[in-house]
């Protein structure tokens, strides 16, 4: 579904991604872990076609939607308008199917996106991404700044879409516990390079990964 080979992305003279190679199969839910500044968002933006690689190849089969870090809504527009604009690529402007999946959004529809709580904004960003009928969903920091109960609610929807509708998901997270709980496989990115990859269960048992991302607790 996603094939990345030897990807290099630079900002001027600084290299943000250094020969990254990864592959995600259709219907998989894969995590990408890493500390701040590791290049996770750069990878997300490159997959979404917003950044041009210096070298390497990125192949995405099907339509990819990105839930960007920090939600990135249109604060001056209503929730309904935010959702409608999410359908710019697909041509679907009616948010009714998204309301069926996320009924809370129907209640929020007339409100300005900028005045909503963090959890509500993340739900709008989620709904807006779904409006484009994606085959692949890249979620950049689902849990950032959200209460655990809000995160788990959104995670439940994500798992449901993955298991019941076959949506391929790349979950970019700093919260490794959440990522390991939701995903089958994971990649670990540090300073622009992939330093580990494998099944989540194996990675959770790896002392280096556990030390760095699970506070030393090997689960």
């Amino acid at each position: 579904m996603i094939d990345v080979t030897g990807l290099v992305v630079s900002y001027g003279s600084a290299t943000a991604l250094d020969h990254v190679t990864l592959s995600i199969r259709p219907g998989e839910m894969v995590a990408l872990l890493g500390p701040n500044g590791a290049g996770k968002s750069t990878l997300a933006n490159t997959l979404a076609g917003l950044l041009t690689p210096a070298s390497g190849t990125v192949t995405v089969h099907g339509r990819l939607a990105l839930i960007p870090e920090g939600r990135q809504l249109f604060p001056d527009l209503s929730v309904a308008d935010n959702l409608a604009l999410g359908g710019w690529r697909s041509g679907q402007r009616d948010p009714a199917p998204v309301y069926t999946l996320l009924p809370r959004l129907a209640e929020l529809a007339p409100r300005r996106a900028g005045v909503l709580s963090g959890g509500e904004q993340q739900m709008v960003a989620f709904g807006r991404a779904l409006m484009s009928h994606p085959d692949v969903l890249v979620v950049d920091e689902l849990s950032l700044g959200l209460a655990p109960n809000v995160t788990s609610g959104l995670a439940r929807h994500l798992v449901e879409l993955n298991r019941e509708r076959g949506l391929t998901v790349l979950l970019i997270e700093q919260n490794a516990r959440l990522a390991f709980e939701l995903c089958e496989r994971a990649y670990v990115l540090e300073s622009g390079r992939l330093v580990a990859e494998g099944d989540c269960a194996d990675l959770a048992g790896d002392p280096r990964v556990a030390g760095a991302y699970l506070g030393g607790a090997i689960t």
């Binding site: 917003l50 527009l77 690529r89 807006r128």
Partner: protein, 286 residues
């Protein structure tokens, strides 16, 4: 009293023309972040075009529409020069629009010469509460009112208008959902040209237009647009009306030579007040 009312009504008409220039500036700045200093040029191009087309015997209506469309095309070409190249910063684009304005001088002088040109508008005048107001002034007020209502409907109700607002609101998010920010920016420039063109065809019957009239138009339009922080068209409209009335009053009561200074003075005061406010907010945030 009737003199005061006359100045007030004429001032509102002058303010409406300024508002059209300002709304063009706001439309371009909201979507692209660029201050388009060629905005006055679009009005000049439309004014000169309408004088030529009417001179060639084309009927009213058709001439004005054609002139406005030429101004919209000029807006689009300016946009291509200013933001056509990906990665151009708003500051670089601003310099390009200044360059386009200077280039336009040369083109206008070659095509129309350097002498002011006028065009016939609506003849006659009406008396309102003892004050005489030219019918053309009423037309300017009416067309501006309709234009602002249509603009509000376009930006507030249509999908394309909301996409333009989205580009202004969060350009990164606009790209995330697949909006072509550059193409929509070009559309904003064309819209700016259209609005400038409407101002041009309305003003030309009231005051002769020459290649360098854009300076007065852009100074006034910019003053009004700054009033609304270059992002709020309705506040820019209020600023433009205030400016128009202030200038007409100044001219009416014997300070006609200082109209431009009134605009510049007002712009300076607004900018100083806004700058003061912003630093206060910034300090609070820190």
């Amino acid at each position: 009293m009737s003199a005061f009312l006359g100045y007030l009504l004429n001032g509102l008409a002058v303010g409406c023309a300024i508002a059209l220039i300002a709304s063009g500036l706001v439309a371009v700045h909201r979507v692209t972040g660029v201050v388009n200093f060629a905005q006055g040029t679009f009005a000049v191009v439309a004014g000169l075009c309408v004088s030529s087309l009417l001179g060639l015997g084309l009927p009213h209506g058709l001439s004005e529409v054609a002139a406005v469309l030429v101004a919209a095309l000029a807006g689009l070409l300016t946009g291509l020069a200013a933001i056509g190249r990906p990665g151009t910063t708003p500051l670089s684009s601003l310099i390009v629009t200044l360059g386009v304005g200077v280039l336009a001088y040369a083109v206008e002088i070659v095509l129309w010469g350097d002498q002011p040109r006028s065009a016939p508008g609506l003849a006659g005048s009406v008396t309102v509460a003892g004050a005489r107001i030219q019918t053309q002034h009423l037309l300017v007020i009416a067309v501006t009112a309709v234009t602002f209502v249509l603009l509000a409907l376009f930006f507030g109700r249509t999908y394309l208008g909301k996409a333009l607002t989205a580009c202004a609101s969060n350009p990164y998010a606009a790209r995330v959902v697949g909006l072509d920010v550059r193409r929509l920016g070009l559309l904003a420039f064309a819209l700016g040209g259209l609005l400038g063109g409407i101002a041009g065809v309305l003003v030309t019957p009231l005051r002769p237009i020459s290649f360098d009239t854009d300076v007065t138009l852009i100074v006034n339009g910019f003053a009004a647009a700054v009033f609304g922080g270059l992002t709020r068209p309705v506040v820019a409209l209020a600023g433009a009306l205030l400016l128009g009335v202030a200038e007409t009053m100044a001219a009416g009561y014997g300070y006609g030579a200082h109209q431009l200074e009134v605009a510049l003075g007002l712009m300076l005061v607004v900018m100083i007040v806004r700058a003061g406010r912003r630093s206060t907010i910034h300090q609070e945030a820190v």
